[in-house]
C-alpha cells in the first residue's frame, strides 16, 4: 500500500490528519506505547476522525479509560485486537465491546509479541521460544525440544502500517526515544512497509549524532510533530 521507496528528502508531514489520511479499511496497524508512555496520541486522535474500519490493532494493552484507542473501539472501527494484556480494570471500554461480541481478541505473551514483531522486521519468518510452553499460549502451536528444553514455534507478526511515537526526529526520519518511551516503538518501526512517527521535536539531519540514533531513518516513512503534546490517553 505505501510507496515503493520513501519520498525524496523531507519526510515531515504537515499534521497528524495528513500523515494518516491514506490508511485503508482492513489495515493491520502496529501501535506503539506501554503504560501511557510512548503512545502516538495525536495520530490516534487523527484516527478517530478517519473513516478507516475493520482495523486490526497490535499493541501492548487494550487501552485505558475513554480516550485514545478506546475511542476507536467505541466507534466500532477495530475488528481485532492483538495484545499482551486485555483485561486491565482501566480497559473497561474494550471489555464492554468484547463482552458484546463485537471484537476479536488474541492475547500473547509480551516477549513473544515483541520478538514476533522484531522477526517481521528482521526477515525471520519464524522462531522458537520457551515462553508459554505448557500454558494456554501453546494451544494450537508446534512444539519442539532443543537441548532437552521444549520451545514453541512462533511466526513473524508484520503490520501494514506502524503508528509510533518518538521523542525527536530529523527530517530524514532518524528517531531518538526518551526514558522508557521506546518500548514497542523501535521494533514496530521496522515491521511495516509504512511507518508513521509522531514526535515532540523535528531537527535537521546531522543534529542527531550517528551513534545516538535509536531507529535509523530507513524504517521511517513519515514524521509528524504532535499537535498537542499534553495529550495523555494512556492507550
Amino acid at each position: 500500500m505505501p510507496e515503493e521507496l520513501p519520498p525524496l528528502g523531507d519526510k515531515v508531514y504537515l499534521d497528524s490528519a495528513a500523515a494518516v489520511a491514506d490508511i485503508p479499511d482492513g489495515a493491520v496497524i502496529l501501535l506503539g506505547g506501554f503504560g501511557g508512555v510512548g503512545v502516538p496520541e495525536n495520530l490516534l486522535a487523527a484516527m478517530a476522525d478517519h473513516p478507516a474500519r475493520e482495523l486490526t490493532i497490535v499493541t501492548n494493552h487494550a487501552g485505558f479509560g475513554e480516550r485514545g484507542l478506546a475511542v476507536l473501539f467505541r466507534q466500532g472501527k477495530v475488528r481485532k485486537l492483538i495484545c499482551t494484556y486485555a483485561f486491565h480494570k482501566s480497559a473497561f471500554v474494550f471489555r464492554e465491546i468484547y463482552m458484546a461480541g463485537k471484537i476479536e481478541l488474541e492475547q500473547i505473551p509480551q516477549g513473544t509479541m515483541a520478538e514476533r514483531i522484531r522477526a517481521a522486521g528482521a526477515g525471520i519468518p519464524a522462531f522458537y521460544t520457551p515462553t508459554g510452553v505448557g500454558t494456554q499460549a501453546a494451544e494450537g502451536k508446534e512444539s519442539r525440544g532443543f537441548g532437552g528444553r521444549e520451545a514453541l514455534l512462533e511466526h513473524a507478526l508484520p503490520g501494514d502500517i506502524a503508528i509510533i511515537k518518538a521523542h525527536k526526529a530529523d527530517r530524514l526520519g532518524n528517531l531518538v526515544y526518551r526514558g522508557t518511551a521506546a518500548n514497542f516503538n523501535p521494533v514496530m518501526a521496522a515491521a511495516a512497509p509504512l511507518t508513521i512517527a509522531e514526535v515532540e521535536a523535528v531537527v535537521e539531519p546531522g543534529e542527531i549524532a550517528p551513534e545516538a540514533v535509536h531507529t535509523p531513518s530507513i524504517y521511517v516513512n513519515r514524521v509528524v510533530l504532535g499537535e498537542n503534546l499534553e495529550l495523555r490517553s494512556e492507550a
Binding site: 505473551p109 520457551p130 515462553t131 535509536h214
Partner: protein
C-alpha cells in the same frame, strides 16, 4: 487473610513479606519485580548491595519513585509507576528487554502468584472464565529468569488452598518457582518436593501442612518469619 484465627493472628503483613524476600536477594543481582508485594521488595534492599532492578518495559537500574512534582512521565516501571534511573542505569526497547529476560540474564523475578503447585508450577495471570487479567510479561519472566520467587497469601479469602498438588487456574509456566513466600511460610522447591524452610512466629510445620495440599518436606530446623512494625518499611 483467611478464616482460621490462629493463622490470621500470625500472618505477616505485605511489608514483612517484602522484607523477607529482600533478604534472599544476593549482592549484585539483577532483579525484576512484579506488581504488588514484589514492588515493595525494593524498599528493603540497601543501595550498597549493588542490586539492579530491571523493568520489562525497558530499564535496567530503576530507582525509587521521585518526589511528588518531580516525576518524569516518560520514565515508568511495568506497574506504570514513575521511577528514577540510578547512576549506571540503561534504557532499551521491548525486543531488547525481553531478549534480556528470555535469555536468562535476569537473576531473579519476584512475581505475585494466584496458585503454586507441588512441583513449582506458577499460575498468576488469569482465573478461569473470560474477562480477567492478562498475560503481559509474566510468562516470559517466569520462563526466562534464572530464579523465580513467588509470593501470595497462603489461603484464599474464603479459606481455599492456593498451594496445590496441581494448579487449577491456567498456568503461567511449569516447574519454575524456586522459592515461595506466603504470609505464613517460606517454602523452597527442591528436586524432592516443596521444603518448608520457615514459618510465621507462633505457628508450627503442622499448621502450614494443614493448609497446603502437597506434602511439605522438612529438613533440620525450621526458621521463624517475624513481623515488624509497619514503620520499619522505608518509603512504603
Amino acid at each position: 487473610m483467611n478464616s482460621d484465627p490462629k493463622l490470621e493472628a500470625a500472618a505477616l503483613t505485605p511489608g514483612d513479606i517484602a522484607r523477607r524476600i529482600a533478604r534472599e536477594i544476593p549482592p549484585g543481582a539483577a532483579v525484576n519485580l512484579g506488581i504488588g508485594v514484589p514492588t515493595r521488595v525494593a524498599n528493603h534492599v540497601e543501595p550498597g548491595r549493588g542490586v539492579m532492578f530491571m523493568a520489562e518495559n525497558g530499564i535496567l537500574g530503576a530507582g525509587p519513585r521521585p518526589a511528588p512534582g518531580e516525576e518524569d512521565w516518560d520514565l515508568i516501571n511495568a506497574s506504570r509507576e514513575p521511577v528514577t534511573a540510578v547512576p549506571g542505569a540503561s534504557l532499551f526497547g521491548h525486543a531488547d528487554s525481553f531478549a534480556m529476560i528470555r535469555g536468562g540474564h535476569v537473576d531473579i523475578a519476584v512475581l505475585g502468584a494466584l496458585q503454586v503447585s507441588a512441583r513449582g508450577d506458577l499460575a498468576n495471570w488469569t482465573v478461569p472464565g473470560a474477562g480477567k487479567g492478562g498475560i503481559g510479561g509474566a510468562m516470559d519472566l517466569a520462563t526466562g529468569a534464572r530464579q523465580v520467587f513467588a509470593t501470595m497469601t497462603h489461603l484464599m479469602k474464603d479459606g481455599g488452598l492456593k498451594l496445590l498438588e496441581e494448579c487449577s487456574y491456567p498456568l503461567t509456566a511449569s516447574g519454575v518457582v524456586g522459592k515461595l513466600f506466603t504470609d505464613i511460610a517460606f517454602i523452597e522447591f527442591t528436586e524432592e518436593g516443596p521444603l518448608l524452610r520457615e514459618v510465621a512466629a507462633g505457628l508450627t510445620a503442622e499448621d502450614i501442612q494443614r493448609v497446603s495440599e502437597p506434602r511439605l518436606l522438612v529438613a533440620g530446623t525450621i526458621g521463624t518469619l517475624t513481623r515488624e512494625p509497619e514503620a520499619a518499611e522505608p518509603g512504603a
